[in-house]
């Protein structure tokens, strides 16, 4: 239970008028003087403000539900199967099967013509792009970096690379930028460029990305079919993940 003092009807009405800016300027300045000198009045203003906000929020929520009902084609009832899935069921599956069969033949021929090398298979098995840094609304500083991070997380590596590249022109030695530019290039299949960026972290021994950078460098070397270089890196830095990769490399 709250220990805050309860308010009288007169206080409620005065505070309401203050909060809704319905007081005359004289009345308002008198009220503000009292408010500055009286902490219990301050507490009451806060509490009544919150109660009014509660009433308004609940009323708005009810209204929003009503507004939503008029939006056509949406499934506002939570227990319904989403329309997206339903729609797929209602269409005829025949053309889809035909398309699948054609694709299978094309891919089959393509596969035998160009079998991926074992190093590419190994790369594909182990490469998972770094999950990225959390991006929140409140991130005011370094907006451009986190804006690109959102693209990165959505798998839009090219956009992220372009945005980060522009920032790179301003600052040269930033381990975070070098790391994510490297991983984004690797995700795009450009292992040579990835290596350029990731190697820059070598000189930044205090960076928190150093261990991850070595792992991704090893993967980039594997993709380039430079297995000796990958092996050497992994042996020099024996973390659990690196040892697992090394094991796979030996097989």
């Amino acid at each position: 239970m709250s220990t805050q003092p309860t308010f009288s009807q007169q206080e409620l009405e005065a505070i309401e008028r203050y909060l809704t800016r319905s007081m005359t300027s004289v009345e308002r300045s008198q009220f503000e003087e009292r408010l500055a000198a009286d902490p219990s009045l301050q507490a009451k203003v806060r509490e009544i403000g919150l109660l009014i906000e509660t009433v308004e929020t609940v009323a708005l929520k009810t209204k929003l539900d009503r507004f939503h009902q008029t939006i056509e084609g949406t499934q506002s009832k939570p227990l319904h199967t989403p329309e997206i899935i339903k729609r797929r069921n209602t269409t005829s599956k025949l053309p889809l099967y035909a398309l699948a069969a054609c694709l299978l033949v094309i891919f089959g021929v393509f596969y035998f013509m160009k079998m991926p090398s074992s190093s590419e298979k190994l790369f594909a098995k182990h490469f998972v792009p770094d999950p990225g840094l959390p991006t929140t609304m409140s991130t005011q500083t370094n907006y451009h970096f986190f804006d690109a991070m959102v693209n990165y997380k959505r798998g839009e590596y090219n956009i992220a690379i372009t945005k980060w590249q522009q920032q790179m022109d301003d600052i040269q030695e930033n381990d975070t930028l070098n790391f994510y530019l490297g991983v984004a290039h690797l995700a795009e299949g450009n292992s040579e460029k990835a290596l350029d960026y990731l190697k820059k972290l070598e000189t930044q021994s205090q960076s928190i990305f150093i261990e991850d950078a070595i792992y991704y460098r090893a993967l980039a070397h594997i993709k380039e079919n430079e297995l000796d270089k990958a092996r050497q890196l992994l042996i020099e830095n024996p973390t659990q993940r690196n040892t697992d990769l090394l094991q796979d490399l030996k097989e």
């Binding site: 009433v55 708005l60 939503h68 991006t135």
Partner: protein, 192 residues
């Protein structure tokens, strides 16, 4: 010149939102839902999620405008702000432990399209706790209190109008409002 007019429109929109103008709120809601829905559907979401996230974002925008924490700086500021908040709320949800757990569980089931996948269960239990508490407390009151408080605080009706519709005198209506607020206060402070 055109830009200035549009900025003025944004300020007019702010005023209308502060006054809970139903027509304006409804238009703002309808005009921006599809874009948010599309973003959520493209990013592993479902329609019920789109609705919940959009409404949470809408309430946040409304609250920030109401409390003067947001001032439009360009001609589509409010619409952009609403989209950005919804987008961030959805990305935060995707990163949340709850989502990851749900997805992990889902992969254990054989994916039958006839069955509703677990991720589209109602999200109500995860609604913001403050909003949840407010909803519960408010709904625990009697209908006459709810109506009176909504008419006065949300619809901004005068006590005279409310008293007339209740067929009581204004002093009794004011006293009733006071008792309703005390009731709400005690409900909000009661541990759930």
């Amino acid at each position: 010149m055109g830009e200035r007019i549009q900025i003025q429109e944004q300020f007019a929109l702010v005023e209308a939102i502060k006054n809970n103008n139903e027509f304006v709120l409804n238009r703002l809601y309808q005009e921006n839902f599809r874009k948010v829905e599309l973003f959520i559907l493209k990013n592993n979401g479902t329609m019920p999620y789109a609705k919940d996230i959009y409404q949470e974002a809408f309430i946040t925008v409304w609250k920030n405008i109401r409390n003067d924490r947001f001032t439009p700086e360009n001609e589509t500021a409010i619409q952009g702000y609403l989209y950005q908040i919804a987008k961030n709320k959805w990305l935060d949800y995707l990163r949340s432990g709850h989502y990851k757990k749900t997805v992990a569980l889902q992969s254990l089931h054989s994916a039958s399209q006839e069955e509703a996948p677990p991720e589209i269960q109602p999200r109500e239990d995860q609604a913001e706790p403050v909003l949840r508490n407010a909803l519960d407390s408010f709904n625990a009151m009697g209908t006459s209190c709810k109506q009176l408080l909504i008419q006065f605080y949300f619809e901004k009706k005068s006590m005279r109008e409310i008293a007339d519709s209740l067929k009581i005198d204004e002093a009794s209506a004011r006293n009733k409002k006071y008792r309703c607020m005390q009731k709400l206060r005690s409900l909000v402070h009661t541990p759930k």
